[in-house]
């Protein structure tokens, strides 16, 4: 027996929570929005969600196998990436488009930089940006919710083309809140996304800081710039991908600051950029690009927001 005792440095016990538990929680949190997507967009959602997840997982497994690394699809992060990408694509997008997106997200953005935790941009958002730049037509062909896939414009699209009055007349705040409008597969329903967000908060996967500061900044800015029109502010909060971006994308561990102060700076930055792009930019929607831009700024933000350690005297 004497020779069989393990010697190691303390601590000798660890918690039960693993990376896959966290990813599983994210997937659970996305279930309401995913079911909502299936309800609103029917087969249009299916042809986007299924290939995206399958391609993401397969890409990760095959790439890791080929490059001689440990296959880590068991941590479920590829499933999360695939699902998040799918929820950010238009319903009825061709299946090959989603597959290309998943391959780009997993191989180029994630694995080439060292795998989980080492990517400097959110893989799903980076893939979406590439798809939007490469296939703008397929990426902006919107349909109305419901059984018949009637093509339509999104509320933010109407806003950028026809102005405030037309946009606010096109979709009621209630429809925006419930998700009964045109838009990406999983971003339309504010209420379902907030349910998922509440679950993530409850499970301690995310804190309130990034979503609250992000959406708060957009709320304050649109209230100020919209002439103190309260319903216009709500329109901006509920329309487009703000909620899914603030709750699920901006809170991505790898690409957001770990310090509390840094998270505030980062989230406010996301909010400012989103508002500026939406109101003055060339694209109707600014959430994806705002988050990607702030992702890149994360190391810098962290450097300037290093917290004081216990007992450190103020300089």
């Amino acid at each position: 027996m004497e020779n069989k005792l393990t010697i190691s440095s303390s601590p000798h016990i660890v918690s039960n929570t693993t990376t896959s538990h966290i990813m599983r929680d994210v997937i659970i949190a996305l279930i309401p929005a995913t079911l909502g997507a299936l309800y609103f967009f029917r087969m249009g959602a299916v042809v986007v969600i299924v290939p995206a997840i399958l391609a993401a997982v397969a890409a990760e497994a095959i790439f890791q196998k080929m490059s001689g690394r440990k296959v880590t699809v068991g941590d479920l992060s590829a499933v999360v990436t695939g699902l998040l990408l799918a929820l950010h694509l238009p319903p009825n997008a061709p299946w090959w488009l989603t597959v290309v997106g998943s391959l780009f997200a997993i191989i180029v953005v994630k694995q080439l930089f060292g795998g989980i935790g080492h990517n400097f941009m959110n893989p799903a958002l980076a893939a979406r940006a590439v798809l939007l730049a490469s296939w703008p037509v397929q990426m902006t062909s919107w349909v109305n919710p419901g059984a018949d896939a009637v093509s339509s414009a999104t509320p933010l699209g109407i806003l950028s083309e026809q102005g405030k009055e037309a946009a606010m007349a096109a979709a009621s705040l209630k429809d925006l809140f419930m998700g009964n409008v045109g838009g990406c597969v999983g971003e339309t329903s504010v209420v379902l996304l907030l349910i998922g967000g509440a679950y993530l908060l409850y499970r301690g996967v995310i804190t309130y800081i990034i979503p609250a500061y992000y959406m708060g900044t957009v709320a304050i800015l649109t209230l100020l710039l919209g002439g103190f029109d309260f319903s216009y502010m709500l329109f901006h909060l509920f329309a487009g991908g703000l909620v899914i971006g603030a709750v699920f994308m901006a809170t991505d561990y790898s690409t957001s600051p770990v310090t509390q102060k840094g998270q505030i700076v980062y989230a406010v930055g996301c909010g400012v950029l989103t508002t500026v792009i939406r109101l003055y930019g060339g694209y109707p929607e600014g959430v994806s690009y705002s988050i990607i831009l702030m992702n890149v700024a994360t190391p810098l933000i962290e450097r300037y927001t290093t917290p004081k350690v216990f007992g450190e005297v103020a300089k």
């Binding site: 393990t6 190691s8 880590t72 216990f310 450190e312």
Partner: protein, 442 residues
């Protein structure tokens, strides 16, 4: 009731149920004791007995060398068999006095009551504590008389007694406070007197509320000693965190408790001081929790210093399955042992025998930057970055990220979902930083 605490920390499973309701019982006196001549931080003592000599209980067998050193006494009566080197908890070899027990328990003449606390002067008290070989019994084993002799320029005005016992599995301090609260309180008074101060706090986690009844009431009519109920959280018993929770004072980075006027002692140390004054018996025994899933019937044992771990495990019914790890102390900060043939010292608060399942540490994966290690760090460090720099041999960067402020509580490694060896790599960085500082001073 308001609970006091600090920022950060974790909630590891308590696993105290097995032993917290088991009264501390006297362990069978061992046939042979192996008493190390170095059981404290500081200089080792020199033996003052030789082979074949007859020694009695409480007799001094090792003399202190220098100020940061304390003498060692025999815990049995009998004949000195040998003086030989043995590996101790830390793995280093230390000279031990091997004494064959004659089971007569003859008391040495020097073991006489030291009189009433009111009649003793400060100097006398510090002298008694030093002569009795009392070192911190929480695990660090720092000679107590040194703590009680602060330099002139430090204005110590508060003593904090550590009764947190925040390590999972361990219940030695819990039983001590429950069974002999009067010794703890009397010890607190002795420490206050030795320091010439009139304020004490005893910090106790709220999972040990049952000790409150004994610790307050009749035995404590004065208000100089305050019981502070602490939130049950690890590492609540870490010195600086405990001081902050009890007094609101923040020990500066790189500083000592004395810098904010505080001296911290373990409750078991205080109780030992009280007993020594009452009976004259030096530090020759302590309560140790023998526990863990691999032990048949875990217990709190009153153990003579120098008893081998193997004998205590035997007394607890032996192993019910082969242990994967035997730890001196708790699972968060204790030292893993390569053998159970090592003697109990003044700092052995627990002997923890973990089964394969309990000791399992999963393989580490990529850091996902979840920031949990940073959230739980009681010192507000960013373990993920210190560790990352350490693993890249960039110890300068690790130092910039304040690696030296790490208190090595292990909360970061515990909480990490990717099971990264965060503390372990920070420890490497600390060692390298200390080494390079030494080199520069040369």
């Amino acid at each position: 009731m308001q609970l006091f605490t600090f920022k950060g920390g974790i909630h590891p499973p308590h696993r105290k149920k097995q032993t917290e309701n088991m009264p501390a019982t006297k362990a069978k006196p061992p046939g042979v004791v192996y008493i190390p001549l170095l059981q404290h931080i500081g200089a080792p003592c020199v033996p003052v007995v030789s082979k074949g000599e007859y020694v009695k209980v409480g007799q001094k067998i090792g003399e202190a060398q220098g100020f940061v050193s304390i003498p060692v006494h025999s815990s049995v009566s009998g004949t000195v068999q040998a003086l030989k080197e043995m590996p101790l908890q830390g793995g280093t070899k230390v000279l031990c006095v091997v004494i064959e027990n004659d089971f007569k328990d003859e008391l040495h003449e020097s073991v006489v009551p030291k009189g009433d606390l009111t009649g003793l002067s400060r100097e006398e008290l510090v002298g008694i504590i030093k002569e009795a070989g009392i070192a911190g019994m929480g695990g660090a084993a720092f000679p107590t008389h040194v703590k009680l002799s602060p330099p002139e320029e430090k204005n110590v005005d508060v003593v904090v007694l550590n009764g947190a016992e925040c390590e999972p599995y361990l219940t030695a301090d819990h039983r001590l406070m429950l069974e002999t609260p009067e010794d703890v309180i009397e010890g607190a008074r002795a420490i206050m007197k030795a320091l010439g101060i009139s304020k004490a706090y005893i910090g106790i986690e709220d999972n040990k509320k049952d000790v409150l009844k004994g610790m307050t009431g009749e035995i404590m009519p004065d208000e100089d000693i305050n019981i502070v109920l602490l939130k049950t959280k690890y590492p609540q018993g870490a010195e600086k965190q405990l001081i902050y929770a009890c007094t609101g004072r923040m020990v500066p980075s790189g500083g000592l408790p004395m810098d904010v006027g505080v001296v911290v002692n373990n409750v078991a140390t205080a109780a030992q001081i009280a007993r020594t004054i009452k009976t004259g018996m030096p530090s020759i025994e302590r309560i140790t929790t023998v526990t863990g899933g691999a032990v048949n019937s875990p217990q709190n044992l009153i153990v003579r210093i120098g008893t081998l771990y193997s004998e205590l495990i035997e007394e607890c019914g032996g192993f019910k399955e082969e242990p994967a790890k035997v730890i001196s102390g708790g699972p968060m900060m204790g030292l893993a042992q390569s053998s159970v043939q090592i003697p109990v010292t003044k700092g052995t608060s627990g002997i923890l025998c973990l089964t394969k399942a309990e000791a399992k540490i999963p393989e580490s994966e990529n850091c996902i930057r979840c920031g949990r290690c940073f959230t739980v760090c009681p010192v507000n460090l960013q373990p993920l970055y210190i560790s990352a720099h350490s693993l890249k041999y960039d110890y300068k960067k690790a130092e910039e990220y304040k690696a030296m402020d790490c208190i090595e509580c292990g909360s970061c490694s515990f909480i990490c979902p990717s099971k990264r060896p965060l503390l372990q790599s920070i420890r490497v960085a600390k060692r390298e930083i200390i080494a390079s500082r030494r080199k520069q001073n040369r």
